[in-house]
């Protein structure tokens, strides 16, 4: 799909190819509260299916982007156990990401003029750089690391809602489920860090330009 995308870009830029930039906020239910800037290249494969390549870079400094939820959980857990030095929450933070996706619109909108818009179904794969930190609580939350750096792979599936005005500019809102294998929630450093399938909800907003 990526090769088809690049070939299509190279051959013609007047077939509905779109480029864009976006912003992704942290997931409120996750330990990573990093702000991510996104760049998109999209090209139609058929009249209803569009392929997309998205690159993301976390502009938040790490480990400051560890979420307030993680810090609060570490604090209350440290108070609850006898030896708070044993309490350490493993937090996985994203540094970069690359997503290859395809979206499907029921209605053909590739060459439409004027106001268009509607929901699309999205699915694809994601590759991202992960940095793992250990969060402890002494007088306050203190993080150490990264204790491990890795490249992770996952799947994304969800929906987007886009709207295009009279011009070639569009705005898109995305709601994606990201499925990855990540460390389970453990607060004790002696406890085995087993990875399990984890789902996080990613919302982002994009500005798109049709070339």
């Amino acid at each position: 799909m990526i090769i088809a995308l690049l070939l299509s870009l190279a051959s013609s830029a007047s077939t509905g190819t779109e480029v864009g930039v976006g912003y992704r906020a942290g997931d409120a239910s996750d330990f990573d509260d990093g702000r991510v800037l996104l760049g998109h290249v999209r090209t139609p494969i058929t009249s209803t299916i569009t392929a997309e390549l998205t690159g993301g870079y976390s502009v938040s400094s790490r480990p400051d982007s560890i979420s307030g939820l993680a810090k609060t959980l570490t604090a209350i857990t440290s108070y609850a156990v006898m030896n708070s030095a044993d309490v350490a929450l493993r937090c996985r933070l994203e540094s970069w990401s690359l997503q290859a996706m395809a979206d499907w619109s029921i209605v053909e909108r590739t060459h439409a003029k004027g106001w268009t818009g509607g929901p699309r179904l999205v699915s694809g794969l994601v590759l991202y750089g992960a940095e793992d930190y250990l969060l402890r609580y002494y007088d306050g939350p203190e993080s150490t690391g990264p204790v491990e750096q890795s490249t992770q792979i996952g799947a994304v599936a969800g929906a987007s809602i886009d709207v295009w005005g009279q011009s070639q500019f569009g705005v898109r809102f995305n709601i994606l489920n990201r499925f990855t294998f990540a460390p389970g929630v453990t607060f004790n450093t002696d406890e085995a860090q087993e990875e399990s399938l984890r789902r996080s909800i990613i919302t982002s907003i994009d500005m798109l330009w049709r070339l």
């Binding site: 939820l69 209605v107 106001w115 268009t116 818009g117 929901p119 709601i175 607060f187 909800i201």
Partner: protein
């Protein structure tokens, strides 16, 4: 303030103007709250929408609506793994309250719509206000009904507001709507803790034009 009142009055008058062609839809949907770290609540909803403008294709369209949502309480089955771990392994009880039901009115603005053959798509953004009832989980608080502090604020009704982003696909009189819907409110948990909640839900609605 006076200008705002005039706009509200004009909006109310437009609802009753005989010349305005009317268009009503009903909707029913399912979904879940997706941004709560402790709970995975499921939601069912029903709604009624009123379109003062019958032909929305040439200008922004304003749609007035009302909806009722209900979230069944499945007890500890609604807990996420993190919540279960906190309660069972570490004996730490997060302040958990679940949404029982909500009644809201909303206004959604559709900048335009697009038709291809017999299929029409629309995108809108809006806001809602209303009331939401919440129920605290005594199990998560690790208390029983004898705790007066916990039961005093166990069931509450709060004013709420929210943001709506919707995308719709219509074929003749039937449509599907994808809805990002937030419910913002402030509540008291265990008689002692004030919490501001901003629950975001993803809903899928079936809509029918009457």
């Amino acid at each position: 303030m006076r200008t705002q009142s005039l706009f509200v009055l004009a909006g109310c008058l437009s609802l009753t103007t005989p010349a305005a062609a009317t268009n009503r839809t009903v909707s029913g949907g399912i979904g879940s709250i997706v941004n709560d770290p402790f709970l995975k609540q499921k939601i069912v909803s029903v709604g009624l929408q009123y379109h003062p403008q019958a032909r929305p294709n040439t200008r922004p369209t304003v749609v007035f609506g009302a909806d009722a949502l209900y979230s069944p309480d499945f007890g500890s089955n609604d807990f996420r793994p993190l919540t279960t771990k906190l309660i069972e392994n570490i004996s730490v009880s997060p302040d958990i309250s679940t949404i029982s039901y909500a009644l809201r009115g909303n206004i959604v603005v559709y900048p335009g719509s697009y038709s291809a053959g017999s299929v029409e798509t629309k995108v809108g953004i809006g806001t809602s206000i209303g009331a939401v009832k919440t129920t605290d989980s005594l199990e998560a608080l690790d208390v029983d009904r004898s705790s007066e502090i916990a039961t005093a604020t166990m069931n509450q009704i709060h004013p709420c507001s929210g943001l709506l982003i919707v995308g719709e696909i219509w074929r003749q009189t039937t449509g599907l709507r994808l809805r990002w819907d937030t419910i913002l409110f402030i509540e008291t948990v265990n008689s002692t803790t004030l919490e501001m909640k901003n629950n975001g839900s993803l809903m899928l609605d079936l809509m029918v034009r009457l």
